[in-house]
């Protein structure tokens, strides 16, 4: 009987040797000292490779946050310097110092039913995105229909001031979202407005920068049945990223994440990696 090949040894060590081959394998090993020796060599190799890979595991989030306190919401010079390169949506305003919530001195119109339902491909964007010309290319509209729509929007530079939108309060927002909105802990809420299918919460960071959280019910947008097919090598994603790479302003990033059943997108005048760190903090 011929010796056991290398692949079989690895499959055995990985616990992946099919049952049919197992008896032949063990029978051969019982009588072949060479293959037993090889098995031990391969066992050491498998272990060594595993050990090496373990060296390049990412640090846990908690360890990273400990190791890099500057990543936290307290904005140190690092961010301030980067922010200075970016445009700012909002500047520090004395009237909106951290700690004071603006909502209390507003008159809140009651929330009515969402004016737009299930017009997914044309889903309007809140805040600065609302002013994207509706004559965007077909490609832009295409990505706008995907969960990664946000990436494509980056190429549109710098956002003009947001159009006026009715301000609402956090309590009434709960009805609309069917749950409390998610917020960045520790950052005062500056303004809450309604978007056609969600809400926009503006919060102010210590540095005075204003960031926006766009929130809507995750299940409000169901993919068409056709989208359930096997994973595609995401051509749309690529298009989106290519757009994104085409010179998006650092502050134009817009990142999305699910928090519970809410889809939350974040925009603001910070570099993308900082925004994504902020998004990490959203609870």
């Amino acid at each position: 009987m011929s010796h056991v090949d290398e692949g079989t040894l690895h499959a055995y060590l990985d616990g992946e040797l099919p049952g049919a081959e197992m008896s032949r394998f063990t029978a051969h090993l019982a009588e072949c000292v060479d293959c037993r020796a090889r098995l031990e060599e391969e066992r050491a190799l498998v272990q060594r490779a595993r050990d090496l890979l373990a060296l390049v595991a990412p640090p846990s989030s908690r360890a990273r946050k400990r190791a890099h306190p500057w990543r936290r919401l307290r904005l140190p010079l690092a961010w301030a310097a980067t922010v200075a390169l970016a445009f700012a949506i909002g500047r520090y305003e004395e009237s909106a110092r951290p700690g004071r919530e603006v909502k209390s001195d507003r008159v809140e119109p009651p929330i009515v039913a969402p004016p737009v339902v299930a017009t997914r491909p044309a889903a309007p964007h809140p805040g600065p995105r609302a002013s994207i010309p509706s004559s965007g290319t077909a490609a832009q509209r295409e990505v706008a229909a995907t969960p990664t729509a946000v990436m494509a929007q980056e190429a549109v530079a710098p956002p003009p001031p947001p159009p006026p939108a009715p301000a609402v309060d956090l309590d009434s927002v709960r009805h609309f979202l069917a749950q409390a909105p998610v917020l960045l802990p520790g950052a005062p809420v500056r303004r809450v407005t309604r978007a056609p299918d969600g809400i926009v919460v503006e919060q102010q960071l210590e540095s005075g920068e204003i960031i926006r959280l766009y929130e809507r019910q995750a299940l409000a947008v169901q993919p068409p049945a056709a989208a359930k097919a096997a994973p595609q090598p995401s051509a749309r994603r690529t298009a989106a990223l290519d757009n994104a790479a085409a010179g998006a302003p650092p502050g134009g990033e817009r990142l999305a994440r699910y928090v519970g059943s809410l889809r939350v997108e974040i925009t603001g005048p910070l570099p993308a990696d900082s925004l994504s760190k902020l998004l990490d903090l959203v609870k």
Partner: protein, 167 residues
């Protein structure tokens, strides 16, 4: 999150982050991409979410490489202005050196060898790897064997070189 996906999230999220980290080499980015992959899984509801997630993640990591140049500027800026820390200990330096050698060794593998090795290390079965890579199941074990050997050899060759270089 639906129960099935919640379960996949629980069992697979860390592995997916690890898988991505070894492609983009940035822990935050890896987490972002993993989140994004789950976001898409939520909307697409693939039949085999686990395998699907790794395929999508691999695609995203590939796309991510194109963004890297653009983002490097920011990352440099951020890291360049970190508050001064105590100088790293010898231990830290040693670990850092080892890590960079493993990374270099991984990057010397062929894309296919690396993919199979990383997928296996992420906990996918031979069947899942075969399905995701298009390899025959029998080829998975030989690919893995080769990938492991080359990883170890490349790592050791790298260590040799640096010892020689240091005299």
């Amino acid at each position: 999150m639906p129960d099935d996906l919640a379960e996949v999230y629980r069992t697979t999220y860390r592995a997916l982050v690890r898988f991505l980290y070894r492609k983009v080499w940035d822990a935050d980015r890896a987490e972002d991409l993993a989140q994004e992959a789950f976001t898409r899984a939520l909307e697409r509801r693939p039949e085999n979410p686990r395998g699907w997630l790794f395929v999508v993640a691999a695609n995203m990591a590939r796309d991510e490489a194109r963004r890297a140049a653009r983002e490097r500027r920011h990352l440099t800026l951020l890291s360049g202005e970190q508050p001064a820390a105590a100088p790293p200990s010898d231990e830290t330096l040693h670990a850092e050196l080892q890590r960079s050698r493993v990374r270099a060794a991984l990057e010397q593998l062929t894309p296919r060898d690396r993919e199979v090795l990383l997928l296996w290390d992420s906990g996918l079965s031979y069947d899942e790897i075969a399905e995701q890579t298009g390899l025959a199941r029998g080829a998975v074990s030989t690919t893995l064997a080769r990938a492991r050997r080359r990883l170890v050899e490349a790592y050791e060759a790298g260590s040799e070189r640096s010892h020689v270089a240091r005299g």
